[in-house]
Symmetry: C2
Subunit: 411 residues, 2 copies
């Protein structure tokens, strides 16, 4: 390896995304090279604004803190690069002699990485671009699953279990709980709450995913059926539910920089509708960013794999690969095992992987055993967090910033 | 002690309420008596409908499961007793020779317990009535704090910490997070999120409690101030915020059986207002019942104290006391220590304890050190939960029901 490396985080953080940064740092240090590994502060915007930190200079406490600290330790952003930005980026790479670009993100980010890769190719600038998968939504194709998903799924499963017990406790007061979960246009996160069911009476009783068009009348009938049976109903809905024409059931008018609708508010919409139509009292649980930041519920398998894809990104780049994303490949066999693989960035960019229809029940309001077999290994094990006064002793962004030095300034 | 005992759970469950049932069972077994300890299924309604279970008959696995299982294991309800119900209750007690009544609940429940106590006195039926405090809202007077509060406070503090790091990660994308928490007419739970702050930049930046009238213009100015400073704002609001006339900022039209307004929907109301007035993008985190059921975040101190008040209730009744609620009395000194005390039911009934105004900052949007000193000991220590496939192995209500036998039916 020759030249310098650069790692950036993109989009919404996860509970384990910092493990991928740790993987890249450790992978980099394992390689025989003398170059510097930079971190871009606040993602791609940090590159455009020349806000880099020297990751070689970070101490052991900091590196170790990446194991259990949620959020994006380097900072992240949602910013769609303009045509001119790509050129700016390339010139910046040339100026800093950056030859390795590691980009941790979802499908939008893989598109960005791909465009950087193509431009470098075109301009004959030797640049190794490796995408590192990350998303709680689990919607990246060509990878068994995405780092970040297992931990969010685990938090939601535990939470669904606890709140379903809470709802059943109040059986004679009768009621409906609606939990709205993330996942954008896919139902992977909503489906994970099925893990909470240990008996038929346990919630969630009804799970609605964007993979199955949402029909108002069917929904009302489903709820009334369960209610008649049990006297209470626990419903999980995916934020991105769509009707038969593919329109979101609820989306705000504003859009993010990538043109995606901003989701959220669905549970309240359904609550109003249900209360009006049935007279049953409805309660909403909307964990929002809690589900993607819940490091206190992180899965050890997830954290390990997030680290593994970081290490592998550097190893693959050092071996001369470029324009690829690291993927997770599940080995067949009794014991769960995922090994790193790779897939061309242009095959992943801007594409979404939906839940297979056959993993959802025929009625479109529940999840089958095949999915449970898929998800069970992903939530296993805990990530120990040092505590201080009963609270997690996460490392702070501000420590990191102070401890590092802006590139080009005297240490 | 002579005759039988009866324990019932009331109102919304907490993460540790079952520890109080465990305390009552163990306290009962420690006493020299031959009577049966019954549990009322689904609270006071279970008594009226003759749905009791024999708690003497429960096995060790079940009793141990009460340490870590959330929800109300006996079932609970929200039901306001009618005049005739009290007579029905008394006749039922007479019929079953129930001489000890342990009622686990909040201020409404203490009123119910008090009325049962008064009626028995009036009718010269020897009955020992003991209230056992329970509420995540922490709003019972004459007790240092309420069992259930510490665990919910801990979950909210951890969650505020994690989601504040998440928000700060996306600094350059700018935004506002509003977390709506429970607490009814008091700000104890909202205040607990202040534990998440380790530096001035950390969220929550603004905390609004029902103890301080909410003024729309001041709120907007507060948010804009922080936003100008930091580029992002983390806001915590208590569900029961009121305006200067004492009217809820947001409450649903329907009411619970005790005539209380149903709260919820506040965060969405503030989001709409903020986005309209400032154009800043707002995200809502509404943990709902997640915060009161989060056994996976339970505090060991809280669980221990919930158990202690259960044991103490039986001890006090055996000593001949009646018409009282067990309270927690904090000892002065460097090391935190709470011992059981007692207070007459009629002094607690239907009364709410608010946060002292001097524990809130002068601007009415933040919390001072005095409160932090009060709350810090309450969240300490973890409650270990056995797991199965990476998920908590809570005991199930259905196991309990099957394992017990309805009173009067052959075993």
């Amino acid at each position: 390896m020759r030249g310098n490396g650069l790692v950036a985080q993109s989009g919404g953080p996860t509970a384990v995304i910092n493990n991928s940064v740790r993987g890249v740092i450790q992978g980099w240090l394992q390689q025989k090279n003398t170059g510097c590994l930079y971190g871009a502060m606040y993602g791609i915007k940090g590159i455009l604004e020349d806000r880099l930190v020297d990751l070689n200079a970070q101490g052991k406490t900091f590196i170790n803190g990446l194991r259990y600290t949620p959020g994006a330790v380097l900072g992240s952003c949602r910013y769609k690069l303009q045509e001119g930005d790509y050129w700016k980026l390339l010139r910046f790479f040339q100026k800093k002699d950056i030859r390795y670009f590691f980009y941790i993100g979802g499908n939008d980010s893989m598109d960005t990485a791909n465009k950087v890769y193509r431009l470098a190719l075109q301009e004959r600038y030797e640049l190794y671009v490796i995408g590192i998968p990350k998303t709680v939504d689990n919607d990246l194709p060509f990878t068994d699953h995405c780092p970040g998903y297992g931990s969010a799924a685990k938090f939601l499963a535990i939470t669904a279990m606890e709140t379903s017990i809470d709802l059943r406790s109040l059986l004679m007061s009768k009621g409906v709980t609606i939990m709205e979960v993330m996942g954008r246009n896919t139902g992977w996160l909503a489906a994970s709450t099925m893990l909470a069911r240990r008996s038929d009476d346990d919630g969630p009783h009804l799970i609605y995913l964007p993979e199955v068009p949402f029909i108002r009348e069917k929904f009302l009938a489903d709820v009334e059926d369960v209610y008649r049976d049990l006297g209470h109903v626990y419903i999980v809905v995916s934020e991105g539910l769509v009707d038969q024409e593919g329109r979101y059931i609820f989306a705000e008018k504003s859009r993010d920089p990538f043109g995606h609708c901003l989701l959220g508010g669905l549970a309240e919409t359904l609550k109003t509708m249900l209360e009006k139509e049935t007279g049953i009292k409805v309660r909403c649980n909307i964990p929002g960013t809690i589900q993607r930041a819940a490091a206190h519920c992180a899965s050890a398998v997830d954290a390990r794999e997030a680290h593994m894809v970081g290490v592998e990104a550097v190893r693959t780049a050092a071996a001369g690969a470029s324009g690829i994303m690291i993927a997770l490949v599940r080995k067949q066999g009794e014991t769960y095992c995922c090994v790193p693989g790779s897939i061309a960035l242009d095959r992943v960019a801007n594409r979404e992987k939906k839940m297979p229809r056959q993993w959802i029940n025929r009625a479109g309001n529940g999840i089958g055993e095949e999915f449970l077999q898929y998800v069970r290994p992903l939530i296993k094990g805990d990530v120990p967090i040092p505590t201080c006064n009963g609270l997690p002793a996460f490392i702070g962004l501000e420590n990191f910033q102070r401890r590092s030095h802006p590139v080009g300034e005297p240490r």
